[in-house]
């Protein structure tokens, strides 16, 4: 699997993501600076977590207009796969590559603890390492993770099977319908707030997040 990780000023989870991708695929991902205007030959582009541009204006708002995002958008339009985690999810919504928006956590507090996620469907490249209904542990670290969209959009997402993950143990940030992650309409773009990349080795305290990366590798081998 040829993966690239986009790095913005203020991104800080790119190395965690690189460890997870390399651990699954055996291949170090390319690091792509946000000022670049073209992508190398890739199967997957990842927008990692962090605080791009200091979260100024809105989380992900400036990064969504970075030069590289035009190339990422073209890549997705040509059938490329894109994963956004945490700030990466926020950037994908700001870029309107995924529906909805991420608001301040309902309880106003930055949340830094584990949560449980439920896999809503397992027939996508991002979730094929699990079975539908599986639950797994994932670390959270965000202040703006409260997923919001108008009721019609939420109904459409549910009807089209585009909810990827839901919080399974309460709703820590107040997200609409406990949504933790969503897909694009062609299921090629996935964004989620928690960090599966931070549980991919027993030394990290668990391997709950590994099925995401193993599943991606299997999908791109076939």
């Amino acid at each position: 699997m040829k993966a690239g990780i986009v790095v913005f000023p203020g991104t800080n989870r790119e190395r965690d993501m690189a460890i997870a991708l390399k651990g699954a695929s055996g291949r170090a991902p390319a690091m792509l600076w946000h000022r670049e205007t073209a992508l190398p030959d890739l199967d997957l582009v990842v927008l990692p977590g962090g605080f791009s541009h200091g979260d100024y204006l809105r989380s992900g708002a400036m990064a969504a207009h970075a030069p590289i995002m035009r190339a990422v958008r073209d890549f997705a339009a040509r059938g490329g796969y894109v994963l956004g985690v945490c700030n990466g999810f926020q950037i994908l919504t700001e870029a309107q590559m995924l529906p909805g928006a991420l608001l301040r956590n309902a309880g106003m507090r930055f949340l830094s603890h584990d949560c449980r996620l439920r896999v809503e469907r397992a027939d996508t490249v991002f979730t094929r390492g699990w079975s539908q209904g599986d639950q797994f542990r994932a670390p959270m670290a965000h202040g703006d993770g409260n997923y919001a969209a108008d009721p019609d959009t939420l109904d459409r997402l549910e009807g089209e099977g585009r909810v990827a993950f839901r919080y399974a143990d309460g709703n820590p940030n107040g997200s609409a319908r406990a949504i933790a992650g969503v897909f694009s309409d062609d299921l090629r773009i996935c964004g989620l707030m928690p960090h599966p990349e931070d549980l991919v080795d027993p030394l990290m305290g668990g391997i709950d997040g590994k099925p995401l990366f193993d599943g991606l590798v299997e999908a791109f081998v076939q």
Binding site: L57, M62, H65, E94, L103, R104, M108, A148, G174
Partner: protein, 80 residues
């Protein structure tokens, strides 16, 4: 010209900062405070002498970057 862009969360979108400000005002004794909504004001200096053009430009900036129309609405006014 100077243009002010005011960005507010749309009605019906939960506003945790507004809620927190409301609680703090109650704590200070402002008992008659009802709902509080918190937004953002952005002032722009534009190299433009035509007020209508300045406003139109600010409107475009609001749509493209300054507001997220999924959750926010905005107004623009030319100041001087």
């Amino acid at each position: 010209m100077r243009v002010r862009v005011s960005v507010m969360l749309k009605d019906g979108v939960l506003d945790p900062p507004g809620k927190a400000i409301g609680h703090a005002l109650h704590t200070l004794g402002f008992a008659n405070v009802g709902e509080v909504r918190a937004g953002r004001v952005i002032e722009l200096e534009l190299d433009e002498t035509d007020a209508a053009k300045a406003k139109a430009q600010a409107d475009e900036m609001g749509r493209q970057l300054l507001a997220n129309l999924v959750i926010e609405s905005f107004t623009t006014e030319v100041l001087a």
